[in-house]
Symmetry: C2
Subunit: 94 residues, 2 copies
Amino acid sequence: MVRVPLSRWERERGERFGALLRQARGDRSMVEIAAAAGVSVETLRKIEGGRIPTPAFFTVVALAAALDLSLDVIAAATTPADVTSHPGQHPLSA
Amino acid sequence: MVRVPLSRWERERGERFGALLRQARGDRSMVEIAAAAGVSVETLRKIEGGRIPTPAFFTVVALAAALDLSLDVIAAATTPADVTSHPGQHPLSA
DNA sequence: AACTATACCGGTATTAGTATCACGGTCATG
DNA sequence: CATGACCGTGATACTAATACCGGTATAGTT
């Protein structure tokens, strides 16, 4: 009946995710990438800054396309290796 | 100041997405896949049925892993070809 | 036959989180 | 100076994720 709050781990993962996007953006402006992805600039800023730790899948799809990134690479890069070897240790989803 | 409601197109995309997951699940039980992904069964059911049209990215990551699917393949399969050739015609994100 | 267990179905209620706009501020550039 | 990008924030409506409900269907057991 209640949505479970995001754990610390999930928040940190979101921060890692945001940092990865920031890095991929490089010299391009946030405004440019947000427009290319069809997302508001504020949203991209929040995602990059980890303040939206679990964005919607299709939002990420659009951002990945604008940044020419593979989703599989993103997913692999934001999951610490120890989690993948022990799937039961942390929630796997958002 | 207000979050824009999901368009019909976005809802339909969510239904396509859900159908793709359902197909990928095959003979395996919803309970089994949901558990493997660390997601509630109700959530998976709703995603498959299109009643959660824009699930969180990391939820999809976990489900894709449980189903042994590539995220890039999922994203490509749920985007009609005419949308990719005309990026301005529909919102690209969730 | 009845009973039990399990999976699946769509819906409801609740809570937490997202995505957006708008704002005031800073900073860099022409 | 004006302009554009970036920053974090407040407020808002919307949506996701969860547990639960009553129902159906199937398979196995007594």
